[in-house]
């Protein structure tokens, strides 16, 4: 099936369009210009919307309240205890990190993964990448709220925070890689790593690596109730199940920013209500999954600005208990991969606006999204060959297995059922599906004892290359949810974190990806691209690859302004 010809990754058209967008320089001239952008046909499915909304070139206006309806409510405010999107949809606004990824108004495009200093003005690594030195900005103040009362941030704060992360909570695995921390002066932090790691700065730029205050932890014993940092916004109110209100921090180190007076997140669990709120202007931006949803909204809000989000990473796939028969046989895994028509899922479930699925973001090893052909021979839909291969593996009459999943969104159930039907039809594999509630699913999935199949995930709170390779793929990593155990992958992922040259990193990453696809270690499934939809007066809110403005990419709200 020639899916590379008609697939959503029609790179030729996409590049042409991008070139056109850049050359035309339309971006940044405001909503009126945006609405006049020519619609593209065919590329990325049938979406007529641009993948990138460039920042406005107008001088920003100060003031106003930005409002968003969110499905997520933070369980607690303690970044040591959760990596929930509920918390990190705003924690990156109350607090800073040492380093950060570029904001939309600094980015060259949605795939820009460049680093900028946040609390650190500069940073450097020793030649062996075991010692990292960060020079802090001088004069950065904690928010003027008791018990901090606007005192200056120093290197001791960073040391305390990192040591607390290493001591307990969900980030211990990462922070225990730090062997020791030195603070030679008030503005210098030196990290001694246990092993060489070229990605330390990237890890510290992740949205979850926020710097919290020593005083709050010492006074309260935890950080569950107060969230005080050095960030552009002060947490004014968090009423559970109602709202989060963030107020402009007048003492923010980046003078003149943020532009907004307030950012309000209304906790709104129902999808229809979130859309109705956007329609009636109660909220300023919203995430939508499918082209038809966007079209429906645009009937009542024709001036809404739409960004067709382009996923460079996919977070869901079929996880196989590959340490046990029959999935420990690579021929079985390959047969499964060839028996599932993933393009059909893109065309039907995601209305043509989706990607075929891959684990490591392609921007780390190539410029364009991979075509179906690049996945290799085992990822083409060839039911007859799949059947033959399964027979060679000793299962000519198929077998019975189980699959458990949690429905993250309604389309997922359709995907699961399509997989079930195709495995039965093409390989005579009987798949018994169990749909679970989240807690049951999660508890079962992360405990490496389950058998059969699971609709597996890799989480989205961190997007760096190390996170997507070593952390998720190395056999000894606690995030190795897909239960991979491949000596080559282990070796390559360790080599990658010791390779400083970006070009060489791309080569190694490609080898990792090729090996993964060849051995079908994770059977990635199609994923939606989705859309960010903005009110016409919202500026600089575009989502960058891997970091949606409404979730872990929230720190970029610091650059958003309202043109009204």
């Amino acid at each position: 099936m020639p899916i590379q010809d008609k697939g959503p990754q029609g790179s030729r058209k996409r590049v042409t369009r991008r070139q056109f967008l850049h050359r035309a320089g339309w971006a940044g001239v405001g909503a009126a210009a945006l609405s006049a952008v020519p619609r593209r046909a065919g590329a990325q499915g049938a979406s007529p919307y641009p993948e990138w909304v460039s920042p406005s070139t107008k001088p920003p206006k100060r003031g106003g309240t930005l409002t968003r309806a969110s499905a997520w409510d933070p369980p607690v405010l303690d970044p040591r205890l959760t990596q929930s999107v509920g918390l990190f949809q705003f924690a990156g606004l109350t607090s800073n990190r040492l380093v950060r990824y570029v904001f939309p108004d600094e980015a060259s495009g949605p795939g820009d993964m460049g680093l900028k200093g946040d609390l650190a003005e500069s940073w450097s690594a020793s030649p062996d990448h075991r010692v990292w030195t960060f020079k802090l900005r001088q004069g950065v103040k904690w928010q003027n709220v008791p018990p901090l009362n606007g005192r200056e941030l120093t290197s001791a704060d960073i040391k305390y925070c990192f040591e607390a992360y290493a001591k307990e909570g969900v980030q211990t695995f990462n922070f225990r890689e730090i062997e020791g921390i030195e603070t030679p002066d008030k503005y210098t932090v030196r990290l001694h790593m246990q092993t060489p790691n070229v990605f330390v700065a990237h890890a510290l730029a992740e949205p979850i690596s926020v710097i919290f205050s020593r005083e709050v932890l010492e006074e309260d014993g935890d950080l569950k109730k107060r969230c005080i940092g050095t960030g552009p916004f002060i947490l004014k109110e968090h009423t559970r199940k109602v709202k989060v209100v963030l107020q402009r921090n007048p003492d923010y180190y980046d003078k003149g920013r943020p532009y907004l007076d307030e950012y309000v997140i209304l906790i709104t669990p129902d999808d229809a209500t979130r859309k109705a709120a956007f329609r009636t202007g109660q909220t300023d931006f919203i995430w939508m999954a499918s082209p038809s949803e966007v079209e429906t909204i645009r009937k009542t809000n024709p001036n809404a600005v739409v960004q067709a989000y382009h996923n460079t990473a996919v977070f869901f796939g079929l996880a196989m208990s590959q340490d046990k028969p029959p999935f420990n046989d690579v021929r079985v895994r390959r047969a499964l991969a060839m028996a599932i028509d993933r393009q059909k899922q893109v065309d039907t479930v995601f209305e043509g606006h989706g990607v075929l699925g891959w684990g490591v973001p392609y921007i780390y090893y190539q410029d364009k999204a991979p075509t179906a052909a690049q996945f290799g021979p085992w990822w083409q839909y060839k039911p007859a060959e799949a059947k033959k291969l399964l027979g060679e593996a000793g299962y000519p009459n198929g077998f019975s297995t189980t699959l458990f999943y949690y429905e993250y969104w309604p389309q997922m159930t359709s995907q699961v059922q399509l997989v079930q039907a195709e495995l039965k039809k093409n390989l005579n594999i009987d798949v018994k599906i169990t749909k679970m509630d989240y807690t049951t699913y999660y508890g079962r999935y992360v405990d490496p004892k389950w058998e059969g199949l699971a609709w597996g995930f890799q989480s989205g709170h961190a997007v760096g290359l190390d996170e997507r390779t070593y952390q998720y793929m190395h056999s000894k990593s606690t995030k190795n949810f897909f239960r991979m155990n491949d000596a080559q992958i282990d070796e390559l992922t360790i080599k990658l974190r010791q390779t400083p040259d970006p070009k060489e990193q791309r080569v190694i990453t490609k080898k990792i990806v090729d090996r993964e696809f060849d051995q079908v270690l994770r059977l990635w499934m199609p994923y939606d691209n989705g859309f960010m939809v903005f009110q016409p007066h919202m500026r600089n809110g575009a989502a960058i690859a891997l970091r949606r403005t409404d979730s872990y990419g929230s720190p970029q709200i610091a650059r958003v302004w309202l043109d009204k």
Binding site: P75, T273, A276, H461
Partner: protein, 316 residues
């Protein structure tokens, strides 16, 4: 009468104890716990850390000890803290109960305002166009699910009127106007749903009562239609209606979770469902016990109301 009430109150004790055992047992049977949720998608926590956190939250105690500890907390009116948020359960309830009470009260008022007049009208004009229309409304109310009606109302309000209730709950005391705007639509949807059963019950009982001898006598005496229907027939027809209303009140207080979710109201329903999903044992257990106690009380109140409505009924 007092003896009867006392007996009912004493009988409530084993009912509540049994409820406590059931809810405690069911929560422990469910796989996963609050820590699983708290750590969700991190994958970076070791077994040692998990054990420590479990100990901190007393989830490592044997079940019987956990049960007795919780029972003591309930009896001493100190239900403890949420495992997930660390917030005092009494504080969570203090926030959620007024929301649910307001929604329930408004829905009840609206529901009764629709149900009783239409029910009576249907009965007094049996098999006429008004009756058919009333019955159609009642059947619609019974047939349309909450989630469908709520979603439809909020979506079409946005499309047709460019208006939906302001999101972000505000208490009545903070801003009465905004608060009523927030509750109007959800109460109407819920009220419509509630009115259906009440309307049907009112219609059938009024029809039955209208055929009684004393009503015929009232007509024969030459009394006006309204007096016959509202003074003589309706009061006697209300006993089964009160039973229905009592049952509905219990359901509403237990949580109109769908409506609360659609209209983003932070009431008891959302609190309980979220706690179940997150395996927040103490919150679920406390909420269920509160609902059980409310239902027991409501049943008693309904029984008492019978006596008020029909002086022939006496409790001993």
């Amino acid at each position: 009468m007092y003896k009867y009430v006392l007996r009912r109150v004493l009988l409530a004790v084993p009912v509540l104890l049994l409820s406590s055992l059931i809810v405690f047992g069911l929560m422990r049977v469910m796989p996963g716990d609050a820590l699983t949720v708290l750590m969700a998608e991190s994958g970076n926590i070791g077994e040692k850390e998990l054990q420590k956190l479990r100990k901190d939250l007393r989830l490592d105690l044997p079940y019987h000890e956990q049960y007795l500890l919780w029972l003591w907390q309930m009896v001493s009116l100190r239900p403890g803290d949420s495992l997930l948020t660390g917030e005092r359960i009494s504080t969570s309830l203090w926030k959620a109960i007024p929301v649910t009470l307001e929604l329930t009260a408004l829905a009840m008022v609206l529901g009764l305002a629709i149900a009783v007049p239409i029910g009576v009208l249907s009965a007094t004009r049996q098999d006429t166009t008004s009756d058919y229309a009333g019955r159609m409304v009642a059947v619609s109310g019974l047939s349309f699910p909450d989630f469908w009606l709520g979603t439809l109302v909020i979506t079409f309000a946005a499309i047709w009127f460019k208006w939906i209730p302001p999101i972000g709950y505000v208490s009545f005391w903070e801003s009465p106007t905004r608060n009523l705007q927030q509750f109007l639509l959800p109460a109407a949807v819920l009220g419509f749903r509630l009115s259906a059963a009440t309307m049907r019950m009112t219609r059938s009982t009024v029809l039955e009562v209208l055929r009684e001898d004393y009503v015929r006598t009232a007509w024969a005496k030459g009394l006006g239609g309204r007096i016959v229907v509202y003074k003589h027939a309706l009061k006697n027809a209300l006993i089964p209606v009160v039973t229905v209303i009592g049952g509905q009140l219990g359901v509403l207080l237990a949580g109109a979770v769908v409506i609360e979710t659609i209209f983003a109201l932070p009431g008891m329903g959302r609190l309980t469902v979220e706690a179940i999903l997150y395996r927040d044992y103490p919150v679920v257990q406390t909420n269920v016990m509160l609902v059980a106690a409310t239902l027991v009380t409501l049943n008693l109140v309904v029984d008492m109301t019978y006596a008020w409505l029909d002086p022939r009924i006496r409790y001993r």
